[in-house]
Amino acid sequence: MSKILLKGCEAIGEAAVRAGAIHYFAYPITPQTEVAEYLARRLPEVGGVFLQAESEVAASNMIFGAASAGVRAFTTSSSPGISLMSEAMSYIAAAELPAVFVNIVRNGPGLGGILPSQGDYFQATRGGGHGDYRLLVLAPSSVQETVEHVMLAFELADKYRNPVMVLGDGLIGQMMEPVDFSSVPTPHPPDKSSWTTTGCKGRKPHLIKTLFLDPQQSEEHNQKLAAKYDEMRKNEVRFEKYNIDSACEVVIVAFGTAARVCKTAVDELKRNGLHVGLFRPISLFPYPYEPLHQISKTGAVRAFLVVEMNTGQMIDDVRLAVADRKPIAFYGRQGGMVPSPEEVIGEIHKLI
């Protein structure tokens, strides 16, 4: 199949439909409202459910209800909306339900603005909601990769019975790029009948709950979840190494849109004979600590440069991986400003 030109938000909606996710509950918020607008027309074509909820609080709790019935349910939002959905994420994680959340991040805090940002890294990877849970977090850096991540997200959500977040930003959501759906494997939902609440005909009643008043039971439940997060750490680490070889002197670490900018900078530096590479975490939880740790032990690497569209959040994870072995510099833009390749090149020249 040939490529089609799609806006990021529309591609998200189409990818979900192709993943068999036709139950969508959402509330409008810029810069991702086009997902809802796309699905309001698209879902009726495939017999799906489109529901504009009264709030993000309601939309995300509708996801809980729909996921309990065994369907692939999802929502999309942007930063302030994700804050409101964090309550439901905690409950969905606790209840071990599969669900997909897409966050097209805008600049914050507070109402902030409607432009691209990576200010929700902590919220995504450290949990905006309460309690000891983790989201699986995927960070695409193109519209094509967003499609792949949305479809993968449903697969992973079902596999681990855990909420999965696709963490994009306003740029990913708003730009148009060619997309090839035929190259993306179509996920297939597993049989969920052993736990769904769909009426107890021919079996004992099923209960989906998150209350564990007995401390021993609650601890066991926490440990069960923790074991699952360990499985994710073992199986779901994703990253990209770009131009990282044994001669590499500076390694840039960046994800999503920032990584894409940095890739252009790396190409330019390479043309000028400088040995600079890019390490791009694709899964933000689980974070690719080990591969980054290995790179930090390479003799030629003199320094790391972390580039983010925030004041420095992922840099904490880079520090955990690199520790004191090599110096770690930071360059960030905020408020909806996107760093330019020239700015990144300027920062590299400070290090070489």
Binding site: H23, F25, V49, L51, A53, E54, S55, V57, A58, A59, N61, M62, I63, F64, G65, A66, A67, S68, A69, G70, V71, A73, E87, A88, Y91, T197, T198, G199, C200, K201, G202, P205, H206, L207, I208, K209, T210, L211
Partner: protein
């Protein structure tokens, strides 16, 4: 032998001993719902949604599939579930803190969209599980742990009449208020609960039955005094009866 059997536990209830306080009417209301589910033959396709509050563990007493919701969000859970599986019979069971305070947005919009589930709204004019705090339905002058001098309507406003509030909406099919403090009232309550479920079976829009309930523990009364208090204080402020019934086709 079977011909002598005149009363038994509904199939839709478990035989678990409830955790409810002596004189609390949750047990009666549970039974009315369970009897209705039995009579309409719905148990195997019914899913209940429990609230946060005293009845958070209602699922221990109902013999059907159940979800346990976040505080106030039961109508959103029920919406997602019923939209995904319109063939199921879905009901939420919610108290006054859950439905009339933290979950106000969810219940109003579920009702207004005409979601095809049934809500059993248990109003005992107080927060039970957290130990007797003021609820949106606490009566004027009523003493609670957070209104120690009595509910002051100048600062807390007047109690919310949920039946009246939701009946202002055009979409809902059936909205009624009943009580269970006397056998006569229990019989009337059963009729309303049954209608609410029947309308759902017929595919009618949202139905809600508000049930005036007791909380002897947090009201500081004996069970007998509590039933009298419902009659003397709650019924005058929260009038009983149907306020919205389906328009005939």
């Amino acid at each position: 032998m079977a011909s002598n059997l005149i009363f038994q536990c509904p199939e839709s209830m478990t035989d678990a001993i409830t955790h409810y306080c002596p004189g609390c009417t949750h047990g009666i209301i549970h039974r009315l719902v369970a009897e209705t589910i039995d009579e309409l033959g719905l148990r195997e396709r019914t899913v209940g949604v429990a609230p946060v509050g005293c009845s958070v563990m209602a699922y221990n007493y109902f013999n059907c599939d159940f979800l346990e919701a976040a505080h106030g969000r039961a109508p959103a859970f029920a919406t997602g579930l019923k939209r995904a599986r319109p063939d199921l019979i879905v009901f939420t069971y919610q108290g006054d803190g859950d439905l009339a305070s933290i979950g106000t947005a969810e219940i109003i919009h579920a009702a207004n969209r005409g979601e095809k589930f049934t809500t059993i709204f248990v109003n005992n004019a107080i927060y039970g599980m957290t130990g007797g705090q003021m609820a949106p339905t606490t009566l004027p002058g009523q003493v609670t742990t957070t209104s120690p001098f009595g509910r002051d309507v100048n600062t807390a406003g007047y109690p919310i009449r949920v039946r009246e509030l939701l009946s202002a909406l055009q979409t809902p099919a059936y909205i009624a208020r009943v009580a269970v403090h006397t056998p006569r009232h229990v019989i009337e309550a059963k009729k309303a609960v049954r209608k609410a479920f029947q309308y759902q079976v017929q595919g009618r829009c949202f139905s809600l039955v508000e049930v005036l309930s007791t909380c002897p523990t947090n009201w500081g009364m004996t069970p007998i005094e509590a039933t009298q208090w419902v009659q003397d204080n709650m019924v005058p402020y929260f009038p009983l009866g149907e306020l919205k019934v389906p328009e005939e086709n």
